[in-house]
Amino acid sequence: MSAIQTPAARELPPARPRWQVIVIRPETMTLVLLILALFGASLLSPYFLDVGYILRSFTLSAEFAIVALVLTMVIIAGEIDLSPAANMALSACLFAFAQQAGVPMPLAIAIGLFAGLVMGAINGFMVIRLQIPSIIVTIGTLTLYRGLAQVIAGDKSIRVPDWFIGINTVLIAGIPLTVLIFIVMSVILGVVLSMTIFGRQIYQIGTNEVAARHAGIRSQRIKMSLFLLMGLVSAVAGLMTASRLGSVRYDLGLGGELQMVLMAMLGGTYIFGGRGTILGTFLAAWLLVIVSTGMTVANVLPAVQLVVLGVLLIVSIIATNFIYSRTQR
């Protein structure tokens, strides 16, 4: 078989039809899964199919989804960050602690955001300057940041002022504000990643960092800016969560890193860098929310949800790898 096929394949360089280029992409897989999930969830529970409810449920994951967009860019650049959920907790704790101690609100918010930036800088410094693998650095800082949040707040919850509560219940044209922020962020980051020089350079760094550096790309500076952005956006997400919950505790967003990684992976971002899109992560965020909401409203055991999430992660990465290995040839 193969002996006959090989010469033929060599003669014909695969002129890929245009529809294949468009259709055989990881994002297509995500979209198909999304539609299937919508369909499945509607069958699973008669209470699921309600736009208001789905949007409300999305607000519960919107903060993670926003961070996942930036995480996608970090992963495309060939790095990873597992500390954003802990960053969210620590920034929110610092913010809440400061405003409780009598610091005026705008300043307290600034403290929270600045803390996030610093945390991003620490990650960036250790990964880029000290050349320690980002996966292990951020496992360490994940433990440290959440630990510090626990030191600051103990296991008390700190209330935030009433006017600060409820960003997720502000509706603009029927869409909760946090969901809207996610959509706007997706558009902006999508444009940055796919249409600017900066964005293309991120792909080049992720594909081959040495080559990118030889081509004159300041890879260290770009990666550092991604880690800083990651820190800042995590802090914003932390404050948004504080506003949604009305109180802050050290365990805010606990385990969120898994959901964020899952969103990026489900969206077809290649774990080794160089490939992936904001569109994919955008779709994956909805997919994840619909899958978990559908199961929760049908009173499916959380255990089954864990299994489904685990299987989804593995299946999505197998599919992504498969698609990329096919299209690379």
Partner: protein
């Protein structure tokens, strides 16, 4: 080669010094920390982590990582606990076979996913971390295995001692460490793990069966998690679908990294890993004695991991320098 040896020796000496200094510092505040009794407390805190760390060390040396060990521990312990509960007629030591076997099977699944589909271990095991935990809830119907179902003879292993008042499970954990040492230093396959980790591209050229070695390290990691699972039932006397083993991966990875196993693969020693485990054990035992609230524990763990990474990097850089000097 000897330069490399020196670095490794220095690394372990460094951790040993850290342990001694830490214990002395605590001892000045609380003299009772420097007694045999507190050594017993420290040792009793560490057996499960030590066993898990041996498996994790092999995986990390082979340039992978296994995040699912806590869930494998939980699942194996649950299966074994259910055997104790629903089939009390079965001779209890069979539980060891069941638990280790279950763990090995789960580890093999990780290994197969990694090798067959060429997936990064970190993502595969992140997935199976959830998957196995979910399965633990499902097989147990989210019910805890209570103390009364765990055989007294098994629980006694954490309390009674064959010699010197040291309980059986400490002997088991150090026995595992000794076997691991013999395996990595004196068997062909053991050396191949290091060859694979230090250069995955060159390894097959040197006759290393990459797939088989990879499957082996993941299965060992699973089997040892299984062993840790039944010992969990022995140590704590119950198996809970959500608590048992959760967070285990962080303690173990921290111990392995502190012990000087390089996350870049190919470098790591049994002694270093043991010392890493002991350092964590000392910290965990000292905090309550000093009256430091438990809420700071996680921050201290994080700081210790980061410091270990910094030391690791400094040592590595010096090693590169001394190697280049030696060559020049």
């Amino acid at each position: 080669m000897s330069a490399l040896r020196n670095i490794l020796l220095r690394r372990e000496a460094g951790i040993a010094v850290m342990i001694v200094l830490f214990c002395l510092a605590v001892g000045t505040q609380k003299p009772q920390f420097l007694t045999l009794d507190s050594l017993r407390i420290i040792l009793l805190l560490t057996p499960l982590i030590l066993i898990g760390a041996m498996g994790q060390m092999l995986v990390v040396v082979a340039r992978h990582v296994d995040l699912s060990i806590g869930s494998m521990l939980g699942f194996s312990a649950m299966v074994t606990g259910m055997m104790f509960k629903f089939h009390p007629e079965i001779w209890w030591p069979i539980g060891f076979l069941v638990s280790i076997g279950t763990g090995a099977l789960l580890g093999l699944i990780n290994g197969l996913l990694v090798t067959l589909f060429r997936l990064p271990a970190i993502i595969v095991t992140l997935g199976t971390l959830n998957l196995y935990r979910g399965l633990t809830y499902i097989v147990s119907n989210a019910k805890q295995i209570d103390r009364q179902y765990v055989p007294s003879a098994l629980k006694a292993m954490s309390q009674t001692s064959p010699i010197f008042g040291i309980p059986w499970i400490i002997f088991i954990s150090f026995g595992v460490a000794l076997l691991t040492y013999i395996f990595v230093m004196h068997t062909r396959v053991g050396r191949q793990i290091f060859a694979l980790g230090s250069n995955p591209v060159a390894a097959p050229l040197r006759g290393v069966a990459v797939t088989r070695v990879t499957l082996l390290v993941f299965s060992i990691s699973g089997a040892l998690s299984g062993l840790a699972g039944i010992l969990y039932a022995s140590r704590w006397g119950f198996v809970n679908p959500s608590n048992t083993g959760s967070g285990f991966e962080f303690q173990v990875i921290a111990a392995v990294v502190i012990g000087g196993v390089s996350i870049n693969g190919g470098v790591g020693t049994v002694l270093g890993t043991i010392l890493g485990v002991l350092l964590l054990g000392c910290v965990a035992a000292a905090l309550p004695l000093l009256g430091i609230p438990g809420t700071t524990q996680s921050a201290i763990y994080g700081a210790v991991i980061l410091i270990a990474l910094l030391i690791d990097r400094t040592v590595r850089q010096q090693g590169i320098k001394s190697l280049t000097r030696a060559r020049a």
